[in-house]
């Protein structure tokens, strides 16, 4: 079992490294998504999507990313189950100690983000990869119109609401996760830790706002 094979700190270190690696994906994905807001013809977005789907480096990297997600999810579950097992009899009075608020809900925010990820996968990735998409022609050539899929999906108020909530929870997950990763890696320093905490908060806010802007702008325009 994982518990016997790896020490608690080893699991936390792997969790942190993979978590930080996955944030790079969030940045790249968001940058491409935001392109859809810049022109009505969706040319920038469709060209970028085409590049991502055909570039051999990105295609290889994609598999590392999948493994990263799986490791982060499985390790998160293993750690959480061990944590529950460490206190078989709970307290009558709920703990009222001061603590990092979002750290208490990493498994919950993580679980909802995971459900979102599955849905998102079915809605975009599977359709783009295996389904048939409409084609659109620009000056630079003919591309599959992934953009129209996004625009159509974001007409559904219910989906937009779920999207926004899931991203907000992702933001909470990042708010704790970012600075926590550095602590787990042993990078705690009286000069740099306060900076890391501020950067982590700003990063999670930027990611949240960036992702949320897209469905909201499309839905309300």
């Amino acid at each position: 079992m994982v518990k016997i094979m790896y020490a608690s700190i080893t699991k936390k270190i792997v969790m942190s490294l993979v978590g930080l690696f996955l944030t790079s994906f969030l940045v790249v994905h968001m940058s491409i998504n935001l392109l859809i807001l810049f022109d009505d013809t969706r040319q920038l977005f469709n060209e970028a999507a085409h590049f991502m789907a055909t570039n051999p480096f990105i295609q290889t990297f994609q598999w590392i990313l999948f493994i990263g997600f799986i490791v982060h999810i499985i390790l998160g579950l293993v750690l959480q189950i061990q944590n529950w097992m460490a206190r078989p009899v709970g307290y009558d009075r709920k703990g009222s100690s001061e603590m990092s608020f979002f750290s208490k809900y990493m498994i919950h925010t993580g679980a909802i983000v995971f459900i979102f990820l599955l849905l998102h996968f079915a809605n975009f990735f599977v359709k783009a990869k295996f389904g048939h998409l409409e084609e659109i022609t620009y000056d630079s050539g003919t591309f599959e119109d992934l953009g129209i899929l996004v625009v159509q999906l974001f007409q559904d108020g219910g989906y937009v609401a779920f999207y926004v909530i899931a991203i907000l929870l992702l933001g909470f997950h990042l708010e704790h996760g970012f600075q926590s990763a550095f602590q787990s890696l042993g990078l705690n320093h009286n000069k740099y830790t306060p900076v890391i905490k501020v950067v982590g908060t700003l990063f999670s806010i930027a990611i949240t706002l960036g992702y949320i802007a897209i469905p909201l702008v499309i839905y309300f325009s």
Binding site: K3, A7, S8, I9, T10, K11, K12, I13, L79, Q82, N83, M85, A86, R87, P88, V89, G90, Y91, D92, R93, K94, G95, S96, S97, E98, M99, S100, S103, K104, M106, H176, Q179, S180, Q183, S184, L185, G186, L187, N188, N190
Partner: protein, 250 residues
Amino acid sequence: MDLTLKIWRQASGLDKGKFVNYKVGNISHDASFLEMLDILNEELVIKGDDPVAFDHDCREGICGACSLYINGRPHGPDRGITTCQMHMRNFKDGETIVIEPWRAKPFPVIKDLMVDRTAFDKIIQAGGFVSVRTGGVPDANAIAIPKHDADLAMDAAACIGCGACVAACKNASAMLFVSAKVSQFALLPQGRPEAHERVQKMVAKMDELGFGNCTNTYACEAECPKEISVANIARMNREFLTAKIVAQKA
């Protein structure tokens, strides 16, 4: 002041246990929390009831014997003190105080509010020491130690091993305790020869005993009566990672 105490009663480790309400009256604001429990126990003994079992020893905050999870906080309200140092002025007249034992799988209840904290001793036995040969008293200034390092080592060594960190942690993790014990040696030259071996053995024992994992929630630091910093946890993570990478297997 008059109080209602909701206390966890459990005859033994095998017993299921339950909460029992007690009334205590005429308690001074200046009484310590344990003195208040002594008064309750005297009344229980007079009535022929079984007194409430709780751990205590020095009653001046240095031995680490007292515990108690009071109103959702280890060692009760107020920062940087043990239960024995806490006074009844922290509570309001007529208040109901919920008193529970530390809750963690490696800390089984012995009786009522007493838990078995042998698990901490086992972690220390695994590597929380410096092996020395006996001989003459070494010169105090033979090894130069920077003041800052000496201070940090002393801060870590202030840990009294009470287990409040485990009790406060939502995961019942012992990382603050173990990291304080690892740090007090890791920071000093005398602790370096065995540093890599020590951190690995102590962490392995901690995991084996069934303590939870650290989520960097920092409730431990907030509740520690000696205000041990979570920077020690980062130091232990660093020591552990370094040991895993550079330590040669025997």
